[in-house]
């Protein structure tokens, strides 16, 4: 394992400290753990909290700021934060209007956030939550835990964040967040695996000429493995799966080409070139495109495509001001 770290036990804390030192005007760290809140608390709005394991930078701390999150809680790499940390975050940001939690659909994340919500509710803090599950690579059925929450979560932060910033009540912010969850879909792939520092070796292996289609953001296995193909064919393959999941015909969409951490922007732009053309061919209008590293998997090489189906309300909220370390509008 070759990484720019000091000790596997300090990766998360040193990362958070470094981030806070880079953006002191935006964020600060709570003393209780790896919990990041806005540098200046904003009252009279629904407070938004999200988080998850570390290793997805700039998620989630990078999205704390005006128009997006009020707090992000970082667990150890690829492991959900614990209820006591989340609870401290909720207490720090809670306003009279209540708190909305944005949770990615993983068994651990959901349980830890639920426990934290129970603790906060016992204090009289109104807490609601949405669970993001945009990954079309895995089956959503009674026989699985449901689809995974991946890069589409960033759109939930952006749009629910804008709604909360406007002063809307908890019910309204929750409704909008759920609307984004219902309309966003993602599919990803990987060229190379990633190594969790504490594990010291890659979570899976891929041969030099192989790729994994449908990979999760923690390197979880996807749908299948095959030989690497030209970028255009891969883009089509992922898009076909997304387009088959919900009806995008005649709709406007926001597109996110998300890098997994080890993929150069050069390659992401090559992918976007095809995605743009292919969607046009299908009669789907692109309203806005985002290309970059939004929800990474440490140093994994790969990417995901996210399509968000838009309506007037979501478009306006997408266009609203956001000013955070990793997302500006």
């Amino acid at each position: 394992m070759k990484k720019l770290i000091n000790s596997v036990d300090n990766v998360e804390q040193e990362m958070i400290l470094g981030m806070v030192k880079a953006y002191p005007g935006y964020v600060k760290k709570l003393d209780c753990g790896n919990v990041v809140v806005r540098a200046k608390k904003k009252e009279d709005k629904v407070a938004l909290i999200s988080g998850g394991g570390s290793g997805h930078e700039p998620a989630h701390g990078g999205y704390v700021g005006e128009g997006m999150l009020d707090c992000a809680v970082a667990g150890t790499v690829f492991t959900s934060p614990t209820p006591d940390q989340i609870y401290e975050g909720i207490k720090a940001i809670a306003t009279d209007k209540g708190v909305l939690m944005v949770v990615k659909n993983y068994t651990g994340d959901v349980m830890n956030f639920e426990m934290a919500a129970e603790m906060a509710q016992a204090d009289g803090i109104p807490v609601e939550y949405v669970v993001t599950n945009d990954d079309v690579a895995v089956k959503d059925s009674l026989y699985t835990t449901g689809r995974r929450g991946v890069a589409g979560t960033v759109f939930v932060h952006k749009i629910a964040g804008a709604k909360a910033e406007s002063g809307a009540d908890l019910k309204e912010v929750h409704r909008v967040a759920q609307k984004v969850v219902d309309n966003v879909r993602t599919m990803g792939m990987a060229l190379t695996p990633c190594t969790v520092p504490a594990a010291g070796k890659p979570g899976f292996t891929l041969k030099d000429d192989e790729m994994e289609i449908g990979i999760g953001i923690h390197g979880e296995p996807g749908i299948h493995r095959e030989k690497v193909k030209p970028a255009d064919e891969i883009a089509e393959m992922l898009l076909d799966k997304i387009l088959a999941d919900i009806d995008y015909s005649g709709k406007e969409v926001a597109v996110m080409i998300n890098g997994s951490g080890g993929t150069p922007l050069m390659e992401l732009y090559i992918i976007n070139n095809k995605v743009n053309d292919y969607l046009k061919e299908k009669g789907i209008k692109i309203y806005k495109t985002y290309v970059g590293n939004y929800m990474t998997s440490i140093e994994m090489a790969g990417f995901s495509i996210t399509l968000l189906r838009l309506d007037k309300e979501i478009k306006e909220l997408l266009d609203a001001k956001a000013n955070t370390p990793a997302f500006k509008e």
């Binding site: 150890t76 009674l142 835990t145 969790v196 979880e220």
Partner: protein, 207 residues
Amino acid sequence: MTDSKKITSIIKEIGNVIQKEKDFLTELDSFIGDADHGINMARGFKEVEKKLPGLEDKDVGTILKTVGMTLVSTVGGASGPLYGTAFMKAGMAIGAKNDIDGDDFITALNAAVEGIKMRGKSHEGEKTMLDALIPALNTIKKVYEENKDFKAALEQGIKAAEEGVEYTKTIIATKGRASYLGERSIGHQDPGATSSYLMLKAICSII
């Protein structure tokens, strides 16, 4: 049967076993999960171990509740809330006793299992820790009722848990990250069922 000092030594032994089997549990998790079960459990029990010296003069309920809270706040993932809830519920079920007998142990294990079911919204046959714990609980109950020999009941229970772990190899996961693999999860034993089995075995080695 067992007093507070012995309970802390049992917890310590569970910690030792988890540290010893850390890499094995992580490897099992790498096949069907996200390769961190051993790492997370080891981190949690390391913190538990630090608290044990201060707990020896406390009642059994308090000890178990403290272990549970510590696991919840240090393990993370799914195992943290599940094992944390299990120990907390066990502690609540036992309450402020300084000595516990076989009936108390069964009451505690039963509460732990119910806690895991509640927190994980799960039941037997989903390739989880419950597939080791429920057969163990049922066997311990049955054998203990028959002859009131707790050690013998626990030994039988461990066998049932081991068979439960073997059983998890044959079924599809429908809970947790392993569920995404569908049929590809067949052939692999569940890491959570395995750690549950190892914990029961550690308990038996001290009692």
